[in-house]
C-alpha cells in the first residue's frame, strides 16, 4: 500500500470514530432530562434582570476595582523590587512571595474575618470591601512580577539614551521605560485580568448581601432556590461572554503593536 493511501485511510478511520462517538452519546443521552435540569426556560426567565443588573455588573465592577488597585500596587512593588535601596527590595520580595504563595481564598478570609477579630481593623465597604482589599493585595503581587519582568525586558540602551539626554532616573522610568514595559506586559497582564474575573467568585467567603452578589454566588443561590441547574449554565455563559472578547481584544492589540515595534 502506498504511504499516501495509508495516511488517507488512517484519517478516514479517525473521522469515522469521531462520528460514531458523537452518535453514541447523542443516542444514549437523556435529552429530555438534560433539558429539564440545565435548560429550563421559565427558570432562566426568572433570573432576569438581576443576573445581569446585579450579578454580571458586580463581577465586572469587582474585577475592575481589584485590577486597578492591583495595578497601582503592582507597579509600586515592581519599582520597589528594582530599587537601589536594599530595604525596599526586601520588602517587595517578601510581600510578593507571601501573597503569591498563599491561596487567594485564605487571604480573603483572613482580611474579612481574622483581621477584624485580631486587631479590630475593618476594611471599608463591609465584607465585600474586605474581600476586594484582599483581591487587590493578591493581584498586586502577581502584577508586580509581571511588571518587573516587563521593565527588565526593555533594552538597557533605552534608559542609557534617556539618561544621556539628561533625563533623571524618575523621568527615564516614566516616559521611556514604563511605556515600553507596558507594551511587553499586555498579554500576561490581560491573562491576569481574566484570572481576576474568575477570582471574584472567591468573594463569597467574605459574605455577600442581595446587592453584592457576583455571578457565581448569584447562580449558586438561584440553583438552591429553584432546585434546578439552569442558573449555573447561565452564569457560566456570562463568564465566557466577559472573558472571550477580552482574550480576542488582546490578540488584536498584540498584532497592532507588532507593527510599531
Amino acid at each position: 500500500m502506498r504511504r499516501t493511501t495509508r495516511r488517507r485511510l488512517t484519517r478516514g478511520a479517525m473521522y469515522a470514530l469521531f462520528v460514531a462517538a458523537i452518535g453514541l452519546i447523542a443516542m444514549a443521552a437523556d435529552w429530555e432530562r438534560l433539558r429539564r435540569v440545565f435548560f429550563q426556560l421559565d427558570v432562566a426567565r426568572e433570573q432576569f434582570p438581576e443576573i445581569v443588573t446585579i450579578a454580571a455588573k458586580n463581577t465586572v465592577l469587582f474585577t475592575v476595582i481589584s485590577f486597578s488597585g492591583g495595578l497601582v500596587l503592582g507597579v509600586t512593588l515592581a519599582l520597589m523590587k528594582l530599587s537601589p535601596v536594599l530595604p525596599y527590595r526586601w520588602l517587595a520580595t517578601v510581600y510578593i512571595e507571601v501573597f503569591r504563595g498563599l491561596p487567594a481564598l485564605l487571604t480573603i478570609f483572613g482580611i474579612a474575618y481574622v483581621l477584624p477579630i485580631a486587631f479590630g481593623v475593618r476594611a471599608p465597604g463591609g465584607s465585600v470591601g474586605a474581600g476586594l482589599v484582599a483581591l487587590i493585595m493578591v493581584a498586586g503581587a502577581y502584577i508586580a512580577e509581571i511588571v518587573r519582568a516587563g521593565i527588565q525586558g526593555v533594552p538597557k540602551g533605552q534608559s542609557e539614551a534617556a539618561r544621556s539626554l539628561g533625563m533623571s532616573p524618575a523621568r527615564t522610568m516614566f516616559f521611556i521605560v514604563l511605556p515600553q514595559a507596558f507594551r511587553i506586559v499586555i498579554p500576561p497582564i490581560t491573562n491576569e485580568f481574566v484570572l481576576l474575573v474568575k477570582d471574584t467568585s472567591l468573594l463569597f467567603i467574605a459574605g455577600s448581601t442581595l446587592l453584592t452578589k457576583e455571578i457565581t454566588t448569584f447562580s449558586r443561590d438561584a440553583v438552591s432556590t429553584s432546585g434546578n441547574a439552569t442558573p449555573l449554565v447561565m452564569g457560566g455563559m456570562l463568564y465566557l461572554l466577559i472573558t472571550i472578547p477580552l482574550t480576542r481584544l488582546v490578540a488584536v492589540l498584540e498584532r497592532r503593536m507588532a507593527k510599531t515595534r
Binding site: G157, A162, G166, M167, R183
Partner: protein
C-alpha cells in the same frame, strides 16, 4: 532657561587624567590621559576590547570610572555634588544601536527631552526638532515611528535627537558599525557636516577614511591604554608603534 549658554572655549571640552576602569577582575582602562579641545574632532580607533567604547562611556558617566579624573568644560564630573543630568544634557551621545525610543514618533523622540529636561515650550522644541531633522535630511520622516526607518535613517534621527538638546559636544560610539555598508555614507556625511560646523566631537570608529579626512586628532588604543596619538594623516601613514602598525595593517 531655554537659551543654552554657548560652549566654553577657555577650557578644554574634555580633560581625562589617570583614568582607570575595572569590571571585576578585568581591567579595561589602564591610566588614560586625553584632552579634547573645544571645536576639535578626536577619533578613537583600536581593536575590539581595547576599551575605547568604555572610555567614551566614562565621559558622560554611563560607566562609573574606578579612579581618575574627568573634567567636562572644567567641571569635575566625578564630583558627587554636581548635577550629572545637567552635564549630560550638554553632551550629545550617539550609540551603535541608535536607541531611538520605539514608542514615540521621530518628532517626539526629538522633543521629549527638550521639554522635560530643558523646559522648552512645545512650539520651540518642535521648531528646533524640525530644523535638526532637516539638517540630517529626514524632514519627511517627522511623523514616522523608528521601526519604519532604515538603520541609516534611525542613526541620523538619533543624531538629530542629540543635536536638539543644543549640546556643546557630541560623543559617537561606533555610530556606523551596525549599519549596512550602503547606509554608512549618509551617516558619515551628517557627521562630517557637523564637524565642519565647529562641533566638538569624540568619535569611536572603525572608519579610517572618516578619521583621516575629518579628524583633528587620532587616538589609537590597545589593551586599555593609549598607544599612540597625533595628527590622523601622520598616524595612519607613519605609525610609530608596532601595535599601531599591526592593527592598521589588518584594517586598511
Amino acid at each position: 532657561m531655554t537659551q543654552p549658554t554657548p560652549p566654553r572655549t577657555d577650557v578644554p571640552a574634555i580633560e581625562i587624567a589617570g583614568l582607570y576602569k575595572r569590571f571585576g577582575d578585568n581591567e579595561v582602562l589602564k591610566g588614560i590621559d586625553l584632552t579634547v579641545k573645544a571645536g576639535q574632532v578626536v577619533c578613537v580607533i583600536g581593536p575590539s576590547g581595547s576599551g575605547k567604547s568604555t572610555l567614551l562611556r566614562c565621559v558622560n558617566r554611563l560607566e562609573e570610572p574606578t579612579s581618575g579624573q574627568i573634567r567636562v568644560e572644567g567641571i569635575d564630573i566625578l564630583d558627587p555634588e554636581i548635577d550629572l543630568d545637567k552635564v549630560r544634557a550638554r553632551i550629545g551621545m550617539v550609540f551603535q544601536s541608535f536607541n531611538l525610543f520605539p514608542h514615540l514618533t521621530v518628532l517626539r523622540n526629538l522633543t521629549i527631552s527638550q521639554r522635560r529636561v530643558l523646559g522648552r515650550s512645545k512650539g520651540e522644541a518642535e521648531e528646533i526638532a524640525r530644523a535638526n531633522l532637516e539638517r540630517v535630511g529626514l524632514s519627511d520622516k517627522i511623523d514616522a515611528y523608528p521601526a519604519h526607518l532604515s538603520g541609516g535613517q534611525q542613526q541620523r534621527a538619533a543624531i538629530a535627537r542629540s543635536l536638539s538638546m543644543s549640546p556643546d559636544m557630541m560623543l559617537f560610539d561606533e555610530p556606523t558599525s551596525a549599519l549596512d555598508p550602503e547606509l554608512v555614507g549618509d551617516v558619515l556625511d551628517v557627521m562630517r557636516a557637523l564637524a565642519d560646523s565647529g562641533m566638538t566631537m569624540m568619535v569611536v570608529t572603525h572608519e579610517m577614511g572618516f578619521a583621516r579626512e575629518v579628524g583633528d586628532e587620532l587616538v589609537f588604543m590597545d589593551d586599555g591604554m593609549i598607544v599612540e596619538e597625533g595628527n590622523p594623516r601622520d598616524v595612519l601613514a607613519n605609525p610609530r608603534h608596532d601595535r599601531t602598525r599591526a592593527f592598521l595593517a589588518k584594517v586598511l
